[in-house]
Amino acid sequence: MNRYLSRLSLAAALASACAAVSFAAPAGATITLGASVQMSGGLANTGRYYKDGYEFAIDQINKAGGIKVGGKQEQLALKILDNQSDNNLSVRQYTQLITSDKIGLLLGPFASDAVLATSSVAEKYEVPMIQGGGASDQIFSRGYKYIFGTLPVASKYFESTIDAMDHLTPAPKTAALLFADDAFDVAVADGTRKLLQKAGLKIVLDERYSSNASDFSSLLSRIKSAQPDAVLVSGHETEVLNFIRQAKSLGVSPHFYSFTVGVPSADFRKALGKDADYAFGMTSWLPSAAEKDPWFGDGDKFAAAWHQRFGYAPDYHAASAVADVEAYAKAIEAAGSTDPKKVRDAIAHLDFPSLYGRIHFDAVGQISLPQTVIQVQNGKVVPIYGATGFIGKAEYPMPAWSKR
């Protein structure tokens, strides 16, 4: 009897807890977007761009009066959960956001592995997810209808870099390709390998390493003995930091090296100091006054406002996250409803200019943006090569470590 009573009271407590959640968001007044992001754990360093970006964009849109849905002005709200850099937890949290919080509009987590796993939840419940953190081709090759991405496709990350290499004197003839063994980096490597072959470069080392590797001394020794002109690394920021520091301590200095991540972020330059110089990288976004935005004015104004609010400079992850929220705002207005299916169709037809660039998704749901080649020169990120050719002078070839 006693046990029965306690079970009954537990059920009552659960029911009231559920009721509290559904009453927490007043119906009609606000539209809630749901997200599960890496706010702690190994990816927290990049995850914060998404948390800050989502919140900043929502605040800015609300400050401008919110969005118009069927003649009524409505405010946006965000329900954001910390997935602790655990993809399995993220899957559970998205399921919870959809099924118990009844949120029908999702923003994505960071990184391809997390997006691959969680986009299946969105697809299963037929709820749209706009994400700015996953670029792997695999995400968009599964025929899913509800996933949209604002990062350019992974297999083309090195396209502009390899173009630029061709125009350097002397042009690199041999290349080494190193990549981590996760969805994004494997996709980058698959694409890069083809691009290198097409450009006529000889690949002298093509090596996959385990994610979060901290020791690169053996790989660097192999690079030293293979003597490639260019080294292309696709990995995570922590690996890139280890790679560069250990390259210095082993005296490995190819004429040219480029990294998929790290180079645009302020944190990277701070951690390496002047050892960050000469590193090439790429970004899908640089602050520019030419990119007009409906809420932030333009890219420059956005970057200044971001720096003022958060105390650090935004990079392409941040701009991509803001673009995701703006895409929802535009799509909900166009659909005139918050019905997930109607919003999904509106997202597929979006076409508007933003601080991040033109937001327009292709048939598989991915955006198309050129990668600008950048290089760290005297502690500053300098744009080198864009869609129109050279926009800055590359410091090439990289001097040996002992001659810096």
Binding site: N45, R208, R222, T238, A271
Partner: protein, 287 residues
């Protein structure tokens, strides 16, 4: 051939640092019978302590090293005396839970206090290297390896020669007999745990110089230390150093000849092999 030689050198230098990382874990495990899951977090804290002394006060990391170790010793001593001692006689599962909890608390406190930004201890000579018999030897790694080996030998001497060291070994070997001879296990336990934490702190400082720090490096370092402790056995610091060198060489050779993506497979494969062939560790006591 050159590559093989360079690979061997890389492996040995890496292994030296690995052994220092594992030394504290193995000591605490052997004496207190506690697998300290927060060991990696101690390494992380040591790294940050050294980082702040270097970047904030401009103290050279190798001078900051003993200070870091002293600070971690005090931290470990107090933690054992006032928290871990509460479950010292409890089943292993309870101590695992408690140290896991400490690990979570330390990791997340570190994120709040230090942020998730990557930090490097980057003195001007961090990239210096020299050539010896055709192999490139990074200066800092060599110093780190030498310090690791020196600390291991010191610990070995301390355990073998001093009264206190003998008391620690006696407590590990036979608690009842040690008590009859007047050893006070409570203070021995706290002292041992403190030494373990100090060694972890020293490893963290060196790790910050050769690699980079963030609040989350702990878990993988605990796993690595665990593998080394099993390979080397808990009997003697010399076994741990052998375990560290074996792991370093295996990782280096795997990366050189099989593929860098398989280093974890190789190192945990060795762990399984050792557990099958010699469950007490390659250099542990034979049963």
């Amino acid at each position: 051939m050159d590559l093989l030689w360079q690979g061997l050198v890389n492996g040995i230098l890496l292994g030296g640092l690995y052994s220092l990382m594992a030394l504290g874990l193995a000591l605490v495990w052997g004496v207190l019978n506690i697998v300290n899951l927060a060991h990696g977090a101690f390494i992380m804290l040591g790294g940050y302590a050294c980082y702040y002394m270097f970047s904030g006060l401009g103290i050279d990391p190798f001078i900051a090293l003993p200070v870091t170790m002293a600070a971690l010793f005090v931290f470990g001593y107090l933690l054992q005396r006032h928290l871990i001692n509460l479950v010292i006689r409890a089943p292993m599962f309870n101590t695992l839970l408690l140290t896991f909890g400490i690990d979570v608390v330390l990791t997340y406190s570190a994120q709040i206090a230090f942020s998730a930004d990557f930090r490097t201890i980057n003195p001007s000579y961090a990239g210096a290297h020299f050539t010896w018999l055709g192999a490139t030897i990074p200066l800092v790694r060599m110093i780190a390896c030498a310090i690791a080996i020196a600390l291991t030998l010191l610990l070995w001497l301390f355990l073998a020669r001093t009264r206190l060291g003998r008391a620690i070994r006696a407590t590990a070997q036979n608690l009842v007999a040690a008590r009859l001879y007047g050893v006070e296990p409570r203070s021995i336990y706290a002292l041992t745990f403190g030494i373990g934490a100090a060694l972890a702190g020293g490893a963290g400082a060196l790790y910050g110089v050769v690699s980079q720090l963030n609040p989350y490096i702990g878990v993988s370092l605990t796993a690595k230390s665990f593998v080394i402790a099993i390979i080397g056995g808990l009997e003697s610091p010399l076994g741990v150093i052998a375990g560290g060198l074996i792991l370093g060489l295996v990782e280096s050779m795997t990366s050189l000849y099989i593929g860098a993506t398989y280093t974890d497979v190789a190192s945990f494969g060795i762990l399984v092999l050792v557990l099958i062939v010699r469950p007490t560790g390659l250099f542990g006591r034979t049963t």
